[in-house]
Amino acid sequence: MVAEAQTPVRTQVPSRLSMRLGLRGWVYAGRYPAERYLYILHRLCGLGLILYLPLHVWVTGRRLQGPEAWQQTMAILSRPVFVAGEILVLAAFVFHAINGFRLLFGHLGCALGRPEYPVYPYPVALHRQRRLTTALMVLAGAFLAAGVWGLLTK
């Protein structure tokens, strides 16, 4: 018998900073499923909406200055750039609300199926919810289309 020389195995522990993906981790989901992209979009829409909220509250407060101030504000908001912003807000709201409904549904354990023994191939709850997810995203698209139509024809 020949004794084999054993080389010591060195494990490198990554530092805390090197494990961070930074902004790349916000937009790139790698091999994660589609739900990961919904999660990223949910966050971005949520951030957009909370940043918009104080501006919206200020705009609604303009009515206290009288009808002239209100008309002036509405005239500014009817410019194409603000209409485009309004469409973005509507899109963010529709997506965030419908995806939030899906998340709430999941938190309550709905549409995830009954628990099963972990036998290979393992059941994945997300796959069971996929049909509901697809249906809700189609619904979001329909609401958005109707809303954009309503905004452009008012």
Binding site: R43, G46, L47, L49, I50, L53, P54, V57, W58, T60, G61, R63, L64, P67, W70, Q71, M74, E86, L90, F93, A97, G100, F101, L104, H107, A146, G147, W149, G150, L151, T153, K154
Partner: protein
């Protein structure tokens, strides 16, 4: 325990927003469709319409509730995102103080607008 309560309230506010914000957005952004159905007669953003809605107690309560739910839900989410980026205890205290101050300032202004609008 405290964090799970805050999280539960975040979900409750989300469910409340789903109802109240859908009503608000439905009226404001789907006015063209509502007008086709005959549910809305004059433009929802005309000054008389806006003043008329502001005078109703039910509308005022709805808007204040909507603002409270939206601020809590949104700022709790923002706090979570900022906490992931700056995850030190000192940063957490700073973020908590910032979102509470900002939220209260917007809430006080929003409630003041709703109260004054009811007197127009």
């Amino acid at each position: 325990m405290r964090e799970s309560r805050l999280w539960a309230f975040h979900l409750i506010c989300g469910a409340g927003l789903l109802v109240l914000l859908s009503l608000h957005m439905g009226l404001m952004h789907y006015a063209g469709i509502l007008a086709l159905l005959g549910w809305v007669r004059e433009p929802v953003l005309s000054f008389p319409s806006v003043v008329e809605r502001g005078r109703g107690a039910a509308w005022a309560v709805m808007y204040v509730l909507l603002l409270g739910f939206a601020l809590y839900h949104g700022l709790y989410g923002l706090r979570g995102v900022l906490g992931e980026i700056w995850d030190t205890p000192r940063a957490a205290r700073f973020i908590n103080a910032g979102v509470v101050t900002f939220g209260l300032a917007v809430l006080v202004y929003g409630v003041a607008v709703a109260v004054q609008a009811a007197r127009l």
